[in-house]
Symmetry: C2
Subunit: 276 residues, 2 copies
């Protein structure tokens, strides 16, 4: 999916919501455990009831890997299921991979060929080698960690160099030289919404994937205020607040309601920004 | 496996060799493709012929993931096979994972419970949260990227802060406060062997996992000279130089010979250091 197509879907759905499919076998409603593949069944029902309000899904790979090869089957079925019901969804492998070139090439093959993802999250520590094999795929995206939403993000991301520039700012500056704004997005945690103003100075045209709204405490209003640009430029992720909103047989329906609440709020911000 | 046990195996085998199981379906000898699981069959023969000279194996997860769920089955069989033939091997999941706490907890569950690895490689960009769930497992190890062997390592790892300290040095300093030298190792690329002297000043007692010897151009002699400490403190990895030394039916035998060559050289360095 290219940048224009993504923006068109955002305008059509009046939403920049990404639903995080952090599907934990220990947290899903118990009645699903009788299914052959409870994780896929859970995802299917979540997808059915949320895709109308959602422009992206983001399975976090850790949740699938923890189930061994079965989990990878669930993941593949999930991606294929989304593709089978709609062409208007951007799918992100939240994998946070990063390795030397020949290894990154294999990760790229995994996520863009073995599985039909649109994007993959990448850790920047090892530099350009980590990212370049992913950039060889047309209409596919690399989403690079810049400022993360966790407490210990400060351990390294806020280290200032001699010019008083934080490491995460250097990552933003450097990674923009590696590829275009149609190839590279950045992860910026919503718990640092006030930092978005500064980030928009460094990366005015980039899409930002913003986790941390909801369970991690970030405010959607703040994120929209500081982060929206002239082609939206945001994908705001919510995982636990949507997929685990109910733990009963109605979990799909309740997830749909929660997703719709966020979509309605997003529609206001998109309208205020003149994007609809 | 704890630190003392690891050192004992090193002394017994007179080796600090780690064999990287970067098993690529496109690179293994063609006659293996008739097997049900060619990747496992390749690994099995490599393990049979090298384990006598080797203290560790390091499957690089990218190679298994690129095969989808089948690849994870091959990985599981490989780990279980090693465990079935010897208790004297340290097994590293070269995964370079790194995520927020609840996600890292799942990765830890994957590598230390679903699969029986001794250690996992981790990217430090997101800080302590990334590592702490792994530290909760007794006799398991976190191997944190410090200075990597790839060309673009310099993009961020050599950024100097206001006190003239490189980012990789800050990672070494900070991560040592997170856990003991029986819990944390560091990845240090062999292509930067001269940097090992400085690294040993910062982390004198830590084990270092050193990739990049052989195909990537690093010298074992230099690594040993600058890196060995009083309990060895090194695991030197070779992947392509061993596992792809022959592409014929004799690939296992040739891999064994290559591993033995390195072991013999390592025995000299261990002896010179008075460790045998």
């Amino acid at each position: 999916m290219n940048r224009k197509e993504l923006f068109n879907i955002i305008k059509k759905k009046k939403s920049f919501l990404c639903v995080g499919l952090d599907t934990d076998i220990n947290k899903i409603p118990k009645h699903l455990l009788t299914y052959d593949d409870p994780i896929f069944e859970f995802n299917k029902q979540i997808i059915d009831s949320t895709h109308e309000f959602t422009v992206a899904y983001k399975p976090n790979l850790a949740f699938y890997e923890s189930q061994g090869s079965k989990g990878w089957d669930s993941l593949e079925k999930t991606v294929n299921y989304i593709r089978s019901i709609t062409s208007e969804i951007f799918i992100i492998a939240d994998a946070k991979r990063g390795d030397i070139g020949n290894t990154s090439a294999l990760y790229a093959r995994t996520f863009f060929e073995t599985y039909d993802f649109d994007a993959v999250t990448l850790a920047p520590y090892m530099g350009l080698d980590t990212v370049s094999p992913f950039l060889n795929y047309e209409n596919k995206w690399s989403i690079i960690l810049a400022l993360t939403s966790n407490k210990s993000a400060a351990d390294f991301q806020y280290i200032k160099d001699k010019k008083d520039i934080n490491l995460y700012e250097t990552v933003l500056n450097t990674a923009q030289t590696w590829g275009s704004t149609s190839q590279i997005m950045f992860v910026v945690g919503a718990t640092k919404a006030e930092a978005l103003t500064d980030i928009r100075k460094i990366a005015p045209n980039s899409f930002l994937l913003v986790p941390g709204v909801g369970a991690q405490g970030g405010s959607l209003e703040e994120v929209a205020k500081h982060g929206l640009n002239d082609h939206c430029g945001l994908l705001v992720n919510s995982s636990r607040g949507i997929i685990y909103a109910s733990n009963n047989i109605d979990f799909g329906k309740v997830a749909g309601e929660k997703a719709k609440e966020l979509q309605v709020e997003m529609e206001v911000y998109l309208g205020d920004k003149g994007l609809l």
